[in-house]
Amino acid sequence: MQEKPHREAERQREATETSLKQLGNLIYEQIQNREFPWVMMQSRSTDNIIYDPELRQYILGPRTIRRHARNIRHIRPFTQLVWTSWFAKELVKLRKTSTLREVYYSARGQRDIEFSGQPESDNIITDLEVALNRPREDFGIFPEERSAIFGDLTVEYTVPGYEGRRMNLTDHPDGVMIGPAITSSEFVETSVDKVLVIEKGAMFTRLIEERAHERFNALLIHTAGQSPRSTRNIIHRLNKNHDLPVYVFTDGDPWGIHIAMVIISGSANAAHLRGLATPEARWIGVWGTDIIDYKLPTENLTENDLKRLKELKTDPRYKEDIWQREIDVFLKISKKAELEAFSRYGLTYIVDEYLPAKLEDV
């Protein structure tokens, strides 16, 4: 692990600032040359999102588009892109972070370019990611924090005012919120030998209470539903840079399955980014077969659940046997079970019996 992690972070920051400035210069010079400014970027339309079996994630295909100020339909998003770039550059320069929601609100009062809603500003930020080939976290733009991490990992902060300061992630018994500070920190030291990712907050809290981190020698990560990109990035780093196996534990229904899959293979929305997927991660439950084997209390699958399961079955990310097998089981029994279903056998059953058995299996 690096000696002076905040220097590395500083270098990253400067590189981001430079690329933003280059974008500014490009546009500026196009106008000076009496040319309507334009920016070339990879197309993000669905027909240009391709599943790469080798990388085991979605990537953008070869098609490119030009955002062109000469085009009456492009000029507003183009202007928003320039404004957002400037806003991002200010963030980077001032070493501040912001959220997607804040970006949306910051444009308020910018007459004529303010966003009509957050989806519009989110979209422009994604454009900027594609155009500069950098994740928005580099620009200091983060999602709302809701995901958390707990366990024996010492991090060293790089955020202003905390540079060089260290913290162990067992220091706070509620877990530590995965925000810009954790995301941009360096991982200095750890004794764990695996990462356990849990979909739900209640189960995360139960695992901490039952000292699961000690019993399984694991880092616990709570995704709070579909994991934010910063959380996926942390999982990716722990797996790739620190060789920690990752086990994902979700509700036993199509939505839980897909939470696991996005951690493993990424999402179509982030096809332009690398470093978010963790193809080595394993989904350990709740499986359809678990529902049968453990006689879990269940609910019936709804119409919507069944429809979603059928979609997943044809999704290229679900080609491997285990997914196909479990999807078939769910379809067959037409039942689903939540993580909490194990409470039927007592509050500690999941830690005492189920998890050890599952981890043993894999």
């Binding site: 009496r34 400014p37 183009f78 404004w83 770039s85 910018q110 004529d112 370019i113």
Partner: protein, 454 residues
């Protein structure tokens, strides 16, 4: 009230009867005229007399001496009572007629209708100078916009389809024809020897029957048979006096205060007939910035019958029905908030009034069809105008978008590049605005559509 014109003047011997007898005048020939029974003027005098018991003064000259009468109406006997008759030397060679009378009325209540009436009268009589001084002494002028006049209507004999029993009886009583065949040929248009013979045979009246020997049953049968008889020639339209596209355009443009850039299209239809009466429909459609200033959105209807403005019961009339039911305005790109003015003039020897008060015209199918066609023809030009307007508005909006965003792009790219001076955006704006003058030029051509032959 004093009304004066500079018209032909009246022969002095006719003056007492013209103004002092209800239903004076007997017409055995037909032509387009403002009135039908000679009722309007006399009724006004009568109304003045019964509300104020004051005499009316009439002065008129056909070029020579001025004859001035002061008279009242003997209501019981329907005769004029001449109180004074002065013959005055005409030093200034005045020609025309002046009538002065007193009557009771509520001017403030009727003021706006009255001004509408005058304005609309000026619209379809663009060769007339109209001056009005109201009771408060305020002067209104509606000046002429041209010295041209439409051709005068020619008197024609009635068409057999359009005759009623009463008129037939009157013709029988004055005729000098000795036989019914001669009678039919002499007093009706479009009846030759053969037609007369064929018709009388069908009506079961002998060719040589003496007209004065007809009994009332014969007359009723003749009139009924005439309606169903299809071998008469079409009614002769020379008795009509349409305003004509050129004069109507002058009048409408003048009274609606149309400017360059406004739209006006006038259509005069060919003569048509209903129930033996010839008629001609003329229509004008106007829109544009000047109309928007004066009128609310939607169709604003102005109606005329034989050049008389129809001011009442608009929504009962045939024009309202055509505008609001028969015509789908969206076909012509007219949206509900586009203010347009629709002027319709129907001239005929018999206007198909629905009521005796002559407030509005009925939806006589032939008349309704002609009105619909006239407005549709005008509306087709309107569609071209509106499309061009939409195009120029779109061009302007396009330019507006570039003018809005390019400065922002310049501003933030300057900040993003850490530079001081923003780049020049004028060349880019000039490039996108290059097309606008071309489109604007096209829109100027549009008003010349008015008057184009269709």
């Amino acid at each position: 009230m004093r009304v004066e014109d500079n018209g032909t003047g009246l022969p002095p011997e006719h003056i007492p009867l013209c103004f002092g007898q209800v239903f004076y005048g007997s017409k055995y020939t037909l032509k387009q005229a403002r009135g039908t029974f000679g009722l309007g003027g006399t009724i006004t005098i009568l109304y003045g007399q019964i509300t104020t018991h004051k005499p009316v003064t009439i002065a008129s000259s056909t070029g020579g001496e001025i004859h001035e009468y002061e008279l009242m109406i003997d209501i019981a006997r329907n005769r004029p009572l001449i109180l004074k008759h002065n013959v005055i030397e005409n030093k200034k060679s005045w020609r025309g007629t002046a009538v002065e009378l007193q009557l009771e009325g509520d001017f403030s209540r009727i003021k706006s209708r009255l001004l509408d009436y005058l304005k609309q009268t000026a619209m379809v009589n663009p060769y007339a100078d109209i001056t009005f001084v109201d009771p408060g002494g305020r002067l209104y002028k509606f000046e002429r916009g041209t010295e041209k006049m439409p051709p005068l209507p020619q008197p024609v004999k009635p068409h057999p389809h359009g005759i009623d029993v009463e008129n037939f009886r009157r013709l029988v009583s004055i005729t000098e024809a000795k036989t019914m065949k001669a009678f039919m040929m002499e007093h009706f248009q479009g009846v030759g020897q053969k037609t007369a013979e064929k018709f009388l045979k069908k009506a079961k009246v002998g060719l040589k029957t003496k007209p004065n020997s007809l009994v009332p049953e014969d007359i009723v049968r003749l009139v009924r048979t005439a309606r169903e008889f299809n071998d008469f020639q079409r009614p002769d339209p020379s008795c009509l006096s349409p305003i004509g596209e050129e004069l109507m355009e002058t009048g409408v443009r003048k009274e609606l205060d149309l400017q360059e850039g406004d739209f006006l299209k006038v259509v005069t239809r060919k003569p048509a007939t209903y129930l033996g009466f010839p008629f001609i429909v003329e229509a004008a459609v106007a829109t544009g910035p000047s109309i928007r200033k004066q009128f609310k959105g939607g169709g604003n209807i102005i109606r005329f019958a034989n050049r008389i403005p129809l001011l009442f019961d608009e929504s009962s009339g045939v024009v309202w029905k055509v505008v609001n039911r028969n015509i789908n305005w969206s076909t012509y790109k007219v949206s509900s908030d586009t203010p347009i003015v629709i002027v319709v003039h129907v001239c005929s020897t018999k206007i198909p009034y629905k009521t005796v008060g002559k407030e509005y015209m009925a939806d006589q199918p032939e008349v309704e069809r002609e009105i619909t066609n006239a407005i549709r023809t005008a509306a087709r030009s309107l569609r071209v105008y509106i499309s061009r307007g939409i195009r120029i508005a779109r061009e302007r909006r396009r330019l507006g978008i570039f003018e809005k965003y390019l400065p922002k792009i310049a501003e933030f790219s300057t900040k993003l590049a850490d530079r001081e001076e923003p780049p020049e955006i004028e060349p880019l704006i000039n490039a996108v605005s290059a097309r606008l003058p071309e489109v604007e030029e096209k829109i100027k051509e549009v008003p010349t559509i008015a008057g184009e032959t269709t």
